[in-house]
């Protein structure tokens, strides 16, 4: 019995449901819409709350009644906080470097596309490591690759004139993967008749 692995698996139990994939897939749908309707993208960005609300409600009303509730150990909670701090600090540093680097004569001119791809890779692999969400390692490369491809298509439009198609494919892929996991989860964990501890004397 490996207690460390048991603890990691317990903390990652939510990822069995596929709801996170569906939520992220919906975020990519919103990104697709923002790319297609570029003129009103500021208004479409408001729609990012929809996937977040979906995930909160789905976890509360679909996942929790089927798999129960757990309060993770304080050590795990502290680790999750450190994770959020690390990602936030990294993002802030990147923003500062970008702002202060702009127009500076000695600034290193790196194609912004690669910086953003790097940020996407870093954030996703950090999520995968800290939250023990192993599939996110794969998604990290999928997301970074999709971003790069969409930028390439925008620069060199050909038959497919809009990079939004790449985002659409990623979103559909994630939603399908999420649904597959969700169906499997619903079959494995039917709604219990009751949550009851019957004390036996």
């Amino acid at each position: 019995m490996n207690l460390k692995q048991l603890e990691k698996n317990t903390a990652a139990v939510i990822f069995q449901t596929g709801l996170v994939e569906i939520g992220i897939g919906l975020m990519w749908v919103v990104s697709t819409l923002a790319m297609i309707f570029d003129d009103i993208s500021y208004y479409i960005d408001i729609l990012f709350v929809v996937p977040i609300i979906f995930m909160i409600l789905a976890i509360r009303y679909i996942a929790t009644p089927r798999m129960g509730m757990v309060k993770l150990a304080r050590k795990r909670m502290r680790r999750n906080i450190w994770f959020m701090v690390t990602v936030t600090v990294f993002l802030v540093i990147m923003v500062i470097l970008t702002i202060t680097g702009n127009g500076h004569p000695n600034a290193v001119h790196i194609n912004g596309r690669w910086i953003i791809s790097g940020i996407i890779l870093f954030i996703c692999t950090t999520i995968a490591y800290f939250l023990n969400f192993k599939r996110m390692y794969l998604y990290a490369f999928l997301f970074a690759g999709a971003f790069n491809l969409s930028e390439e298509i925008r620069k060199n439009p050909g038959i497919i004139s809009d990079g939004a198609y790449v985002y659409l494919i990623v979103s559909l892929l994630l939603i399908v993967i999420g649904c597959i996991y969700l169906i499997s989860f619903l079959k494995k964990y039917p709604l219990p008749e009751k949550d009851s501890y019957d004390k036996k004397s």
């Binding site: 129960g68 993770l72 501890y197 004390k199």
Partner: protein, 106 residues
């Protein structure tokens, strides 16, 4: 269950309450979290409702677990957590088991 360890006539005592396979699963699951509800425990251990109830009764009687009954809305919920005694007993159990197997290796 006792075993002579080393040459010092030390007795390695294994806690039979924890040692039972189903209860060991339950306690191990509770050990790695702050608390869990009955349903979560049932799902993660793969044990039946009656099985978990029976074992929790024994653990509660030994004051290894603390059980709180409440409600989420209209739905009853049972929250289980290890007591301090339960955690210390499990830590001691792990130590004793390691010692037991270390002795066997020699």
């Amino acid at each position: 269950m006792t075993k002579k360890a080393n040459n010092e006539n030390q007795q390695v005592e294994i806690d039979k309450l924890i040692h039972e396979p189903a209860r060991l699963k339950i306690i191990a699951q509770l050990y790695v979290v702050e608390s869990a509800d009955f349903l979560f425990l049932m799902r993660q251990t793969g044990l039946s409702q009656g099985n978990v109830s029976g074992h929790l009764s024994k653990l509660e009687d030994a004051a290894y677990v603390e059980i709180e009954k409440g409600y989420i809305g209209k739905r009853p919920q049972t929250i289980i957590s290890l007591t301090k005694k339960g955690r210390e007993s499990f830590t001691k159990y792990i130590r004793n088991m390691r010692e037991l197997f270390d002795d066997l290796d020699e």
